[in-house]
Symmetry: C2
Subunit: 804 residues, 2 copies
């Protein structure tokens, strides 16, 4: 499909054939980077080796990772040259965990590091600072981190480099994401599962990912599977994933510079061909075979070949610090000096300590430097979503509990119009459940993205689709992370229980956002919005494995500057919450609501007021008539338990009318926390207004009860909160039966209210007995009726609502 | 490498060429299974279709999954035939999520279901019960679950079928695990990452896994990547993973029976060849190319081709219930009846409703029936470990805080000897960190398992190794699950922060164990032991991404009959805890302790008493001299915070000696819970003995503070617990600095003690000021010294210990 012009051909030829001066520059930049990398690991003084290396110049404790670094910087240098020659916008994602020093050194050589951190200038003092801060308290870690300019990918938890890269280039047609995949991380499940990104990447509309599988042979302590497999198998594997495999192997110099330059030129040319064809209309629509480079170099390349007679370079021994005990072992000290001097620092840095022009000549200009790319600081590129008025999607609510609606269906309609208004910066990510989650309205305006073969029976599936469905929570979550970190917006919608599959990604992205919030140069990015549906309480034909509200627990561990948890009780609250989340920046917004038809409580105006406050008294549901001293507070957070709470309040109103019951609904879980622990935390005054200071609170919660216990800790007399929630009693059954099994049904709540009320009117004992009888009746009904669950359901959820 | 005998050749030939009567049996069994599957989804009466189908026979709500079922039962029938002909021991793992009805029907046809559940006999009533219980309250779910005889694999959260299969056959040389991989689940990361199991499977010592990749084309609502890829790519992919691909495709009958029988015979023959060669010594040691079958059949095969003019079979529309509204739509009712009768039930079940001999002739005998395999109820095969006396590995402790040791190194020595004594039933699983975690003593007696090429520079890597290292928490966790569910023992050791990668597996396995505990026929299996090291507090050169104690939070959500969390403060406690865990059954045992040198507190005798009790007063550390009314209680759980607590107590002893301080250490976190919520929960009396009823408790906790708040909820005046713990303040720094950043340092604890003590002696204000000064000094030190962290560390951890 080559439609390259002759100018283009000349450029490609030049790219593939660097002349001697170019190779000299590449090699100098690379040597400078390696020198700076080793300096970070070892040196606390004498950074330019102006004097012979002495024990006092060596850090007291040697920490850091050498092994993967020279490969990372080698690739970086060559991509920089590509950028200079072509003007290609690119970002660099370092998959191997501990390539931190090489990427920091790259930013330093490009001048970005000093611009970002003026305390680390390009001179001798700055170099010393660069060295000393590494792996030190208050300094920087040995892996690429949030503090590294040009990074959108933390080299901590392994496996996500490709998902981040694919997410970054979606709707980002001019961007090339260079994704270096380590052979250690290539063993992880998430990484293996992420090669398939090409099956969802549209060359006309999206940018490109160039994976570089770096097989250096070893991980921390042993060999890697891919490095030791027959190379034929590795080729077959990657071919099977859909790639065009280009291979470069060796450690000879300058030969490797020539061969890698040629490989990179070939890959880039291929990418350009694919993109030009797709964008010029001469594309048959089939999935392109994108290029991929397999790079085989020795682990710790250019490091000491052997130490104390044992091979180091090329083995796992070079993973961290190849030379240990340097302060006390003169032979090791000598070896280190020889190693450092092998890069000829005097040719690389001038007398002031700044990199010389031969080195800096490799750097691209301005924002094209990968360490300075605005794509890697996506907040600066973020344009707010053009959002429709969420009130237009409201469910008409005359009075509470009159109407049933599938709340998420309304959100789907809103998202449909968000898609229409923002064709370049919003996507929904979902593991094959968009319709199941009642969000299918989006398919009125966008198909599912799919680059493999389609058939006549497919519905809403095409290469032009922008709804991302893949049966992989890891891909969905990771793509959304990459998408938002580069400045676009989205939502990840998934089944509540299986949100735990990607819980570690939620944790890690939360950590990224927490750390970024403290770096003034990192502009705030769109929030990571996670919608959980198909909740623990309503799983119908699914069993216990599908019932688990664990992600709430996980998000609660994050700091208050990032974590947000919303439990809208109905559609209008959901719409208001979603609007807020889609406008927000740099949060993890967790929204939990079921997809099944559910009773609607609030008008849109009420919902807006309620969600803005985050929690409030539902006076119409209670019987305390605004008094300041109810006998009991019934609180709730979450849709099903809200229904049970309102039902319990109704039972009490009808059967024990003298009991003053206050009903409080909580939408924004973080309002429960003390203000010093979370910015959404209610003031003490407001907390007392809602919950009093001393009246017992029966709290029906969607998730594990312990969550509420920990949230209200420190509030006045927190012991008075009696929490009902999901206590790991699950099975195939109705929502109402689930509330019974977990002791959170309306009858349990009524009995709790009676057991804990400050003051009991006559008739309370009878009502308790009546509740017991209702529960017994339910048990009997379940036993007798087996498959007739709809009747159970309707009986359980229906009869009181008609009287509401 | 064929060394087959001629008898063997005959058998193979016969296997590959079923005669007409065999095909008739296979087809009858399959039809019976399909009939029972559809019955489960649709029927509440008239199970044998003795009368024309009427609306009243149809369930009021249609739930369940048809799409994957016919493929699963087709394979099942053929494997049963293989077993009958060969005597091969096999278990069946159904990866596709919702094949529940087919597997339940298989057990029913084999008689196992009725033997397990006498309420569901092989007669008309039993069949009705089978149908009615499906997807009903108190019944069974639509996916394979714990209640399904013959299963070790819950079809809930997708992606783990191969890890379970590989774990099941390790050290299980006679077992064949048939692992059907759905093309939906094949999109998940964990599944993609688990094909590489063959790179760790030793044919001489381990059994075999036969993966059957079932490409039926669709998942819930759309096409799958593997089904729509060019078949060449699928072949390349699987070849690249190391398999010998055998393909069967179509929907013609009886042709498919013949072709699948031939494929299965070929696969089994190949497995036998590999095993015989390996076991007879004629193996060159290279990784065999294990067979794998790619089976392409239409989704919903044998179901209604189209409904209302829309194609159903072969599309996503057959995923769940292909015919809806059957009660109200006479055309659909007619179609359902026609569909059910297409299997000719009158030929399959006798007048009483039992399967006829033509059907049951396919069933293997006794325990060879896959639904009756003892391997799938591993507790019945479990032999306790032959454990050395853990006291032999004790660290000598004369007095608290005199000795430092790497506690996990002692555990490694214990495990080394567990390996030696139990060469067939114990393995350690670890993502490439065995040495890093100081467990390397195991390499004295076992290498790492590795079937790919090894080199001279490899250390402790060989095909005979039984230490399982792969850089995939998913593989490690899942292999251990499969290993324990089939009755063997093991431990998963991993970095604390990255334990969240497999948190969903911990959750799902916990759910399995919780549910199994309630099924009397499921014998208790060895516990899942998880050791977390490299904890949040001691990550040296790693940064914030490596710091997260989240898995504790996750395990706390499990029920008390399964969840166990231990925080041993030193080596002797760790040994005692580990011994207990290795003897236990059916728990999730989470053990958290760091790997770095740490102060040792207790003699072995003290450690045994302390861990048996789970929590206790450390009188030597406090100053309340056994009085019942201390002024403050300093409690702690976790190694680093224990050190800070003891240090705080020492500061108070020295500088505020009149303050009565009690020090309580908690090893078994669950002792804090009320006895009604956890069997380890301390009695109220004991709780009061330790914590009093009213004195404030300053609790230094290893994990997130909220965990303690939720655990002590309901204890007397729980509000008095002031918890310090990990509050998401992380970076590259020393352990001591971590405690400062998280406000859990000895100085913070002293100030907390002063702020909350019942009674304050003179000098308290001065001591608070001194603490502030110490913290200021620390801040200054960090700022000034940057990379000199060892000094910071030694200063921080050392100075008081020498006076201890």
């Amino acid at each position: 499909m080559s439609i390259a012009t002759s100018v283009d051909e000349d450029l490609r030829h030049a790219l593939a054939h660097p002349d001697d001066s170019e190779v000299a520059g590449l090699d100098a930049w690379w040597r400078a980077n390696n020198y700076l990398t080793i300096g970070q690991i070892y040196l606390r003084a004498n950074p330019l080796l102006r004097e012979p290396l002495a024990p006092g110049h060596i850090k007291p404790r040697l920490l850091g990772h050498w092994g993967t670094s020279p490969g990372l910087s080698f690739v970086y240098a060559h991509v920089s040259r590509l950028i200079r020659r072509t003007g290609q916008q690119a970002i660099y994602l370092a998959g191997p965990g501990h390539g931190g020093p090489a990427l920091v050194a790259a930013g330093y050589l490009e001048g970005t590091y000093s611009a970002t951190y003026p305390a680390v200038p390009q001179d001798e003092n700055g170099m010393l600072r660069l060295f000393r801060q590494f792996s030190s308290p208050g300094g920087i870690p040995s892996h690429v981190s949030v503090t590294t300019p040009g990074s959108i990918h933390e080299g901590g938890e392994l496996g996500y480099v490709l998902v981040h890269a694919f997410g970054a280039v979606m709707d980002n047609p001019d961007l090339l994401a260079i994704a270096v995949v380590g052979d250690g991380e290539a063993e992880t499940g998430p990484l293996e599962g992420s090669w398939k990104g090409v099956s969802f990447l549209n060359p006309a509309r999206d940018g490109a990912v160039l994976p570089i599988l770096h097989l250096n042979g070893a991980k921390i302590a042993g060999p890697t599977v891919l490095a030791r497999k027959d190379p034929d198998e590795v080729r077959a594997l990657l071919h099977g994933h859909g790639y065009d495999v280009i291979e470069v192997a060796g450690d000879d110099l300058p030969g490797m510079h020539h061969r890698f330059a040629a490989a990179l030129a070939q890959a880039w040319g291929r990418i350009r061909d694919i993109q030009r064809a797709a964008r010029s209309g001469s594309w048959d629509g089939s999935r392109p075979r994108w290029p991929l480079i397999v790079l085989r170099t020795p682990k710790g390349w250019t490091g000491p070949e052997s130490v104390d007679g044992v091979t180091v370079t090329g083995t796992w021994r070079s993973h961290q610090v190849p030379l240990s005990g340097v302060r006390d072992n003169p032979a090791h000290l000598e070896l280190l000096e020889k190693w450092l001097r092998s890069y000829r620092p005097e040719e690389l840095f001038d007398s002031a300590g700044a990199p010389v022009p031969l080195v800096t000549s490799v750097n691209p200009e301005g924002d094209l430097r990968m360490s300075a790319s605005p794509h890697a600081n996506g907040g600066v590129l973020t344009r707010d979503l053009d959002l429709p008025d969420f009130r237009d999607y409201a469910v008409d609510v005359d009075a509470p509990a009159r109407v049933r609606a599938e709340s998420t269906r309304k959100l789907g309609e809103l998202m449909r119009d968000v898609y229409t208004r923002n064709p370049d910066r919003f996507r929904l990510f979902c593991p094959d459940e968009t319709n199941s989650n009642r969000l299918g309205a989006v398919f009125e305006v966008s198909d599912r993205a799919f680059m493999e073969r389609t058939t006549a029976d497919d519905v809403a599936v095409s290469r032009d689709g922008r709804v991302m469905e893949v049966l992989s929570e890891h891909n969905c979550h990771g793509w959304l992370e990459g998408y938002t970190l580069t400045g676009r917006h989205g939502m990840f919608a998934t089944y509540e229980a299986f949100a735990m599959v990607s819980a570690s990604q939620t944790v890690q992205h939360g950590k990224w956002l927490q750390e970024a919030t403290r770096l003034p140069w990192r502009a705030r990015v769109p929030s990571l919005n996670v919608l959980l549906t198909s909740t623990a309480w309503r799983n119908d034909h699914n069993g216990f494995s599908h019932q688990g509200p664990g992600l709430i627990q996980v998000v609660l561990t994050q700091r208050g500057d990032v974590a947000r948890v919303y439990l809208p009780p109905d559609a209008n609250c959901l719409l208001s919450v979603a609007d807020h989340c889609l406008r927000s920046r740099s949060y993890i917004n967790l929204i939990v609501i079921d997809k099944q038809p559910q009773l609607q409580w609030l008008t849109m105006d009420e919902a807006i007021a309620h969600t803005a406050r985050g929690a409030g008294v539902w006076e119409w549901a209670g019987t305390d008539d605004g008094s300041t001293d109810p006998d009991i507070v019934l609180a709730c957070a979450g849709d099903v338990v809200t229904m049970e709470t309102v039902a319990a309040a109704q039972i009490l109103r009808e059967r024990l009318p003298a009991l003053k019951v206050r009903v409080v609904n909580v939408v924004d879980l973080m309002t429960l926390v003390r203000p010093k622990d979370h910015p959404h935390g209610m003031s003490p005054t407001l907390f007392t207004e809602l919950f009093t200071d001393s009246v017992d609170v029966v709290f029906a919660f969607h998730g594990y009860p312990g969550a509420i216990h920990q949230l209200v800790h420190g509030r006045p007399d927190a012991d008075r909160f009696r929490v009902r929630g999901f206590i790991e009693e699950g099975t195939t059954t109705t929502p109402f039966d689930m509330t019974v099994r977990n002791r959170a049904s309306r009858y349990h709540l009524v009995m709790d209210a009676i057991n804990n009320a400050r003051r009991l009117p006559r008739g309370a004992a009878d009502l308790k007995a009546w509740c017991e009888a209702q529960l017994a009746r339910h048990e009997q009904y379940v036993v007798e009726h087996l498959e007739d669950l709809p009747e159970v359901r309707d009986w359980a959820l229906g009869d009181w609502a008609t009287r509401g």
